[in-house]
Symmetry: C2
Subunit: 234 residues, 2 copies
């Protein structure tokens, strides 16, 4: 696969969604610059998965940027608040989850914007999804549109390039099973990824947090098997 | 001065502008939460000045958040590119200066947004100025408006509070001399601040960078004396 296309910055977490986005950006002909924000997550396994996935798709660079959001707090993902566990996907509550991180996608896109401007890349890819993560305000199309508008006002490239920025969110309207099918077609090895909010020290997913339950349901609905090993299955 | 008012997050750099903003926010009755981003600046003196100023105005907290923008580069303030020096303020060129940091104010406001949401504060103060820093795209009113719009879409507080966020930029239309006069009225000790892009190891301003020249002209136009000592004066 050629990497001689236009450069793009792709936010990569090591999870299923952003790995699929990486495959979609490569398929569209972009040269990939993968960006992972190390925001004091509970598990370093995410960072290792991000590096595996970036390498698998031939990213020209993988930048891991430390940003310790624990100083800010306000989320189960960056504080001592326990991650909720459920027996089935139907038990996941409505509203905004405790795993919401204040201003997370605004911050991640801002960091991508700064790096992209330095690289001379004006395309940013983000794996947000408004279907399965409808509780997160910063996964909605109106948020993404507002950020693209901001980028064109905020930067030298936006002002001089007359609205050159594009924020791509190719998964925003897909269900989890549609994401998995698309990734499968594009050759994503989901065995390299990790979605769990609370994996074991050995890097095994818990199978009971919202992220695990949504992932398992996605594979089930897609008629495919998740290559990861879960405690209940293992 | 009471600090029992509504909480506000104030971005504080240790410079003249943000110190004046701190005074204005206190005067308006807000409880002050000062936020300084340690973005790998060339000089730690800025951070010390920020701490002095936050303490002088009785901030309830002063959070210094590390964010190493050197990994991103793209600016004379975060890379090895030399800071331009001039003999007089008239020599400062037009266009976007090399001291522009890609997406800086977008990033700073995003961090302020995250912290503010955790604190339950919905007012953010930023000392941008569209008069003397007209070359920076992210110092313009349309940028600030776009960020406020984004904040109301991006966050739990914005969605549940129906547009609760306010980004305050009280200096945006003031000249440097007007800022200094306002600060003087409110009791700002400008001897605590530092504006220089390239101070000596002892913390003395260079007197020749854009920031020094604009500051000196501001004091001159205000008919006041800068309490700092400059090489040419010393």
């Amino acid at each position: 696969m050629s990497t001689s296309g236009k450069p793009a910055v792709v936010l990569v977490s090591g999870g299923l969604d952003s790995s699929t986005v990486l495959a979609i950006a490569r398929e569209a002909g972009f040269e990939l610059f993968a960006l992972t924000i190390d925001y004091g997550q509970r598990h370093a396994q995410e960072l290792q998965a991000a590096a595996r996935v970036a390498a698998a798709f031939g990213a020209s660079r993988h930048l891991v940027l430390p940003l310790d959001l624990r100083a800010i707090g306000g989320s189960a993902l960056t504080s001592a608040t326990p991650v909720p566990k459920h027996a089935a996907v139907e038990e996941i509550g409505g509203g905004i989850p405790v795993t919401y991180v204040p201003a997370r996608n605004t911050l991640f896109l801002s960091l991508a914007l700064g790096w992209a401007e330095t690289l001379g890349a004006f395309d940013i890819f983000l794996g947000v999804n408004a279907v399965d993560y409808s509780g997160y305000p910063d996964c909605r199309p109106q948020f993404v549109d507002a950020f693209q508008h901001l980028a064109n006002l905020a930067t030298k490239a936006g002002v001089e390039g007359d609205g050159v920025w594009r924020i791509h969110t190719p998964l925003i309207d897909l269900t989890k099973s549609e994401i998995i099918r698309r990734g499968q077609e594009l050759g994503v090895d989901y065995g390299l990824t990790i979605s769990c909010y609370d994996p074991s020290d050995a890097g095994l997913p818990c199978g009971q947090c919202d992220a695990c339950l949504l992932r398992l349901k996605g594979f089930h609905d897609a008629g495919l098997e998740d290559p990861l090993t879960y405690p209940a299955q293992g």
